[in-house]
C-alpha cells in the first residue's frame, strides 16, 4: 500500500487480527542507535534553551499567533527539516527520533507542535512519500530552511471525516500542460503562513472522478486565504480557510500518480498520527509534573494532598498512561524504521489511545489542583483546551476505530472469501469454529522473560479470543460490518488494548532482560497496572459483541433525535 516502492511488510496488528504473533517485530523493544540518541539529546538541549529564552506559550495563546521570530528560530535550529533526508538539506532523522523531538515540542507547547507537525508531519510529507526527484530537489530544501512553510489541505466544508468526498476540482489543459484548480479547503493548519500546499482535488479520469494530489505554491495567483480561525485551544497555531479560484498548477506538480491522490492523503496521515501520539505522550508527562508539583506543596487537612489516596490514584493513572502511550508510540515508530509498510493500524491505535489518555490527564491534573486549575492565571485550563483537538483532527477517534476494525478485518475477510468460493457455507462454518480454534491454540508468543509468563498468557488468550471473534463476525455479517458502528468500536477497543499490552510487555521484557527483574520493579508495576484492566476490557468488549444493549441504545438515541432533545413523560 506504500506509495514508495518498498516490498510489502505487515506490522504487528494486521497479524493479531489473524491470531498470529510476529515475534521478531515484538521482541526486543526497539531502541535508537547510540549515535542518533546523542543527536536527539543534543537537539533537545538546544530546543530547551531556545524555549526558555524565546518561547512564551501563555503569550502565544493570548495572541492567537506564533511570532515570526519563533518560526525563524525553529528553522535555524533545524527543527523544521527533521525528517527531510540530508541530501535535501534536512537531518534525515528516523521516525523514532523524529517523534522523540515532537514529543518534546508537544510537551513544551501543543500549539507549536501543531505548527511544526502541520509543516513536516503532514504538510510536506506527501513530497517525501510520493514526490519525484525534481519535486524533492526543488521543494524540500526550501521547506528545511524556512523559505517555505508547508500545509496539508484535504478537509473541505462538506468533506470532513468523509475526506474521499472532496469537491475541489482539477481540470487538465493539454495545451498549457497544467491543471486549473477550483474549490475551497477548510481549517488548514498553517493555512495563512504556508508557502507550499499539498492540495487534494478531484479530476475526471476515464469518465470517473478520482483524487489527485498537487503541490501548490503559496504565491499562486487565484489562491486566497481566510482570516485565522479563533479556536478553543492550540490558539497560536494558524488555521485558515483556503480558496482556489482558477489556480493554475503545472503538470510537474502532480504528486504521485494521477487519480491515486486519496491513497497518498491517507498514507501521509499514517505518519502524522504517530507524531500526534508522541506529542500527546509529552503532554501527559508535562501535566503529571505540574500536578504533582502542586500536590506536594498544597496542604489540606494538615498534610500535603499528595499523601491522599484519592490524589495518588490520579497520579498513578497518569503515570501508567505515560508508560503505555510511550510504549505504544515508539514500538509503532520502530515499525516504520524497520521498513514495515503497513503500520496504519498501530498508528491509528496510538492516535486514538494517546489523545484520550492526554485528555484524561488534563482532567486529572485539573482535579488534583482544584480551583486554581480553573483560573486562567495557571496553565491547567490552557493545557486542557490544547488537549482536546487531538481527538478530532487527523481523523476523529471514531474514524480511527472504524479504520482499525475494517482494515484489520480485511485480511481475514479475504481468507474467508476464498474459502467461501471453494467450499460454500459448510466449509465456512467449519472454518469459523473448529479449524480456527485448533489453529489458534498452536499460536504462542514465545521468547519473553520467564517472569512475564502471566502477561504472555493474557496476551495469548486475548488474541485468540479476538481472532476467533473477528472470524465469527465476518461469517455472521460479511460486508455489513462496514456500517456497524458499535461493532467497529468494540473490535477496535479490544485491538487497542491488545496493542497496548503487546507494547508494554515488549518494553518491560527488554528492560528485564537487560537489568534483571528486581531493577525493573517500578516498570513491572506500571505494566501490571495496565494489564489488570486491559485484559478485562478485551474480554468485556468481545463479550458485548454477542450480548449487549445495542437495540435499547438505538431506541434511546432515536427518540432523542426525533425530538431533537430530551423528552420524557411528565
Amino acid at each position: 500500500m506504500s506509495a514508495s516502492a518498498k516490498a510489502e511488510k505487515l506490522g504487528i496488528m494486521p497479524q493479531i487480527f489473524a491470531g498470529h504473533f510476529d515475534r521478531d517485530l515484538i521482541f526486543p523493544y526497539p531502541k535508537m542507535s547510540a549515535d542518533e540518541a546523542e543527536t536527539v539529546e543534543m537537539l533537545l538541549d538546544s530546543f530547551a534553551g531556545f524555549a526558555k529564552r524565546k518561547l512564551d506559550p501563555v503569550k502565544m495563546d493570548q495572541a492567537h499567533e506564533t511570532p515570526p521570530e519563533v518560526l525563524k528560530g525553529l528553522f535555524e535550529l533545524g527543527l523544521m527539516g527533521l525528517a527531510i533526508p540530508e541530501q535535501y538539506g534536512g537531518a534525515g532523522l528516523s521516525m523514532t527520533a523524529y517523534c522523540k523531538v515532537m514529543e518534546a515540542v508537544g510537551r513544551h507547547d501543543a500549539s507549536l507542535a501543531v505548527t511544526v507537525g502541520g509543516h513536516q508531519s503532514i504538510g510536506m510529507k506527501a513530497i517525501l512519500l510520493a514526490g519525484n526527484e525534481e519535486q524533492k530537489e526543488k521543494y524540500l530544501p526550501q521547506c528545511a530552511d524556512g523559505r517555505r512553510i508547508a500545509a496539508y489541505a484535504l478537509t473541505e466544508p462538506e468533506a470532513g471525516s468523509d475526506a474521499g468526498s472532496v469537491k475541489t476540482r482539477a481540470v487538465y489543459n493539454p495545451k498549457t500542460k497544467s491543471f486549473t484548480l477550483n474549490g475551497s479547503k477548510l481549517w488548514i493548519t498553517n493555512g495563512a503562513i504556508a508557502g507550499l500546499l499539498t492540495v487534494f482535488a478531484k479530476e475526471e479520469i476515464n469518465g470517473k472522478d478520482a483524487m489527485t494530489a498537487f503541490i501548490v505554491e503559496g504565491e499562486a495567483p487565484g489562491l486566497t486565504r481566510g482570516k485565522p480561525e479563533l479556536k478553543m485551544g492550540i490558539r497560536a497555531s494558524n488555521t485558515t480557510e483556503l480558496n482556489f479560484e482558477n489556480v493554475e498548477v503545472p503538470e510537474a506538480n502532480v504528486l504521485g500518480e494521477r487519480g491515486k491522490g486519496f491513497k497518498v492523503a491517507l498514507e501521509v496521515l499514517d505518519y502524522g498520527r504517530l507524531s500526534l501520539g508522541a506529542g500527546c505522550a509529552g503532554g501527559i508527562k508535562e501535566l503529571m509534573q505540574l500536578a504533582i508539583g502542586h500536590a506536594k506543596q498544597r496542604r489540606q487537612f494538615g498534610a500535603p494532598i499528595s499523601d491522599l489516596e484519592m490524589i495518588r490514584g490520579k497520579i498513578a493513572q497518569m503515570a501508567v498512561a505515560a508508560w503505555v502511550c510511550d510504549s505504544m508510540v515508539y514500538l509503532a515508530t520502530s515499525l516504520v524504521d524497520r521498513d514495515v509498510t503497513d503500520f496504519s493500524i498501530e498508528s491509528a491505535c496510538c492516535k486514538a489511545y494517546c489523545s484520550e489518555r492526554l485528555w484524561d490527564a488534563a482532567n486529572n491534573a485539573m482535579q488534583i489542583v482544584g480551583g486554581i486549575g480553573y483560573m486562567t492565571e495557571y496553565p491547567y485550563e490552557r493545557l486542557m483546551r490544547d488537549s482536546r483537538i487531538n481527538m478530532i483532527f487527523e481523523g476523529t477517534n471514531e474514524i480511527q476505530r472504524l479504520y482499525i476494525t475494517l482494515a484489520g478485518m480485511k485480511r481475514p475477510g479475504d481468507v474467508l472469501k476464498a474459502i467461501q468460493k471453494r467450499g460454500g457455507v459448510g466449509a465456512l462454518v467449519g472454518y469459523g469454529t473448529h479449524t480456527m480454534k485448533k489453529h489458534l491454540s498452536a499460536n504462542h508468543l514465545e521468547g519473553a522473560h520467564p517472569s512475564l509468563a502471566w502477561h504472555v498468557e493474557r496476551i495469548e488468550e486475548g488474541t485468540k479470543a479476538f481472532a476467533i471473534a473477528v472470524d465469527k463476525l465476518l461469517v455472521a455479517h460479511g460486508k455489513k460490518v462496514v456500517s456497524m458502528g458499535f461493532l467497529q468500536e468494540r473490535v477496535a477497543n479490544a485491538a487497542i488494548q491488545l496493542y497496548g499490552m503487546i507494547a508494554t510487555l515488549s518494553r518491560l521484557d527488554t528492560l528485564v532482560k537487560a537489568k534483571g527483574p528486581e531493577a525493573c520493579a517500578y516498570e513491572a508495576d506500571l505494566t501490571k497496572a495496565f494489564f489488570a484492566k486491559a485484559w478485562r476490557t478485551v474480554r468485556d468488549e468481545l463479550a458485548l459483541l454477542e450480548r449487549n444493549g445495542d437495540a435499547r441504545t438505538i431506541r434511546v438515541a432515536e427518540r432523542a433525535i426525533e425530538h431533537e432533545g430530551f423528552k420524557v413523560l411528565n
Binding site: D35, E38, T39, M42, L43, D45, S46, F47, G49, F50, E76, L77, G78, L79, G81, L82, E86, A91
Partner: protein, 258 residues
C-alpha cells in the same frame, strides 16, 4: 584569528548535590553534565571573532572521557577542532596543574587569543584563566562583558563594583568571559550532525611533555559539607497580644535578630 577556548565539563547548576561518604567528593550520580555556562560565552565570542576575521576556533578541556560531551557541544555550536587532555595523572588536578596542562597544550596549538569562562561552576576557584596567562607570560583580563578589536589590541569592558572599566590589552592574551558579553547560540541540528564528523584530539601527559609526578595537587582538600538544613518554622498560637510578645522574645533570644 585563531582562538583557543577553554571549556569545562560541569554538573548542571540545577543538580541537587550530596556529599559522598568520604566527605571529600560530591555524589553526582544523577547529575546532568553540561558545558560550564560561562564557557559558553567564551565559545560564542570565539565563533563571532572567527566569523568576522576568519581563522579557527579550537576548544580544549582537561577532563575524563565524559568531558567529550562538552567538547561535542562546542563543536556543534561551530568550533572547528577539539582537544581533550585526559590522563589518569590529571584526575585530581588542582587549578595550578590544570593551568599547566592547558599551557603545555596551548604551546602546541596556533592561538592568538585564549578565552575562558570567568569561573567554572561547581569548583568556583576562579584561577585557571589567570594562572594560564601567568604561565604563558601574556596579559590576562578577567570578567569581561564587552570586547572590540582595535588593530592588534582588544578593547575590553569589565564590570566593576558600581561601574564599568575599559581596558586595552595586546594580543595574544587570556580573557575570561562574563555573562552579558554575548548571547551564546544553540547548536542547530546541522551543527550537531557536522560535529559528529569533527575529530577530537586526545593528549596524555606524555604528549604534552608533562611529568605526572609534578602534577600532584598543591593543596589538600580536607572536608566538604552542605549548609546545615533550615530548621522547621515555628507557628505561634494563642491571643494576638501574647503572640506578639512571644515573637519579640524569640527574635531576641533565639534568632538574635533584634
Amino acid at each position: 584569528m585563531n582562538v583557543l577556548v577553554c571549556v569545562k565539563h560541569v554538573p548542571d547548576t540545577e543538580t541537587r548535590v550530596k556529599v559522598a561518604a568520604d566527605g571529600l567528593h560530591l555524589d553526582l550520580g544523577e547529575a546532568n553534565w553540561v558545558v560550564n555556562p560561562y564557557d559558553e560565552y567564551a565559545v560564542e565570542q570565539g565563533l563571532q571573532l572567527k566569523e568576522k576575521l576568519g581563522g579557527e576556533v579550537t576548544v580544549i578541556t582537561v577532563g575524563g572521557d565524559d568531558a567529550t560531551k562538552s567538547l561535542r557541544q562546542a563543536l556543534a555550536m561551530g568550533a572547528d577542532k577539539a582537544v581533550l587532555c585526559s590522563d589518569p595523572a590529571f584526575e585530581d588536578a588542582d587549578p595550578w596543574s590544570t593551568a599547566r596542562i592547558l599551557a603545555a597544550a596551548a604551546a602546541k596549538l596556533p592561538c592568538d587569543l585564549i578565552l575562558s569562562g570567568k569561573h567554572g561552576v561547581g569548583g568556583d576557584n576562579q584561577q585557571v584563566g589567570s594562572l594560564l596567562g601567568q604561565l604563558m607570560g601574556i596579559p590576562v583580563v578577567t570578567v569581561v562583558t564587552g570586547m572590540d578589536l582595535e588593530g592588534t589590541s582588544l578593547m575590553l569592558k569589565r564590570e566593576i563594583e558600581g561601574g564599568t572599566e575599559v581596558v586595552k590589552a595586546s594580543l595574544p592574551c587570556v580573557i575570561s568571559c562574563q555573562k552579558g558579553l554575548n548571547e551564546p547560540r544553540y547548536p542547530s541540528l546541522k551543527g550537531i550532525m557536522a560535529a559528529k564528523k569533527k575529530e577530537i584530539t586526545a593528549w596524555k601527559a606524555a604528549d604534552l611533555g608533562l611529568d605526572p609526578a609534578t602534577l600532584a595537587p598543591s593543596f589538600q582538600l580536607k572536608k566538604m559539607e552542605l549548609p546545615p538544613p533550615r530548621p522547621a518554622g515555628k507557628i505561634l498560637s494563642g491571643e494576638i497580644p501574647d503572640q506578639v510578645k512571644e515573637l519579640v522574645k524569640l527574635l531576641h533570644d533565639e534568632a538574635k535578630a533584634i
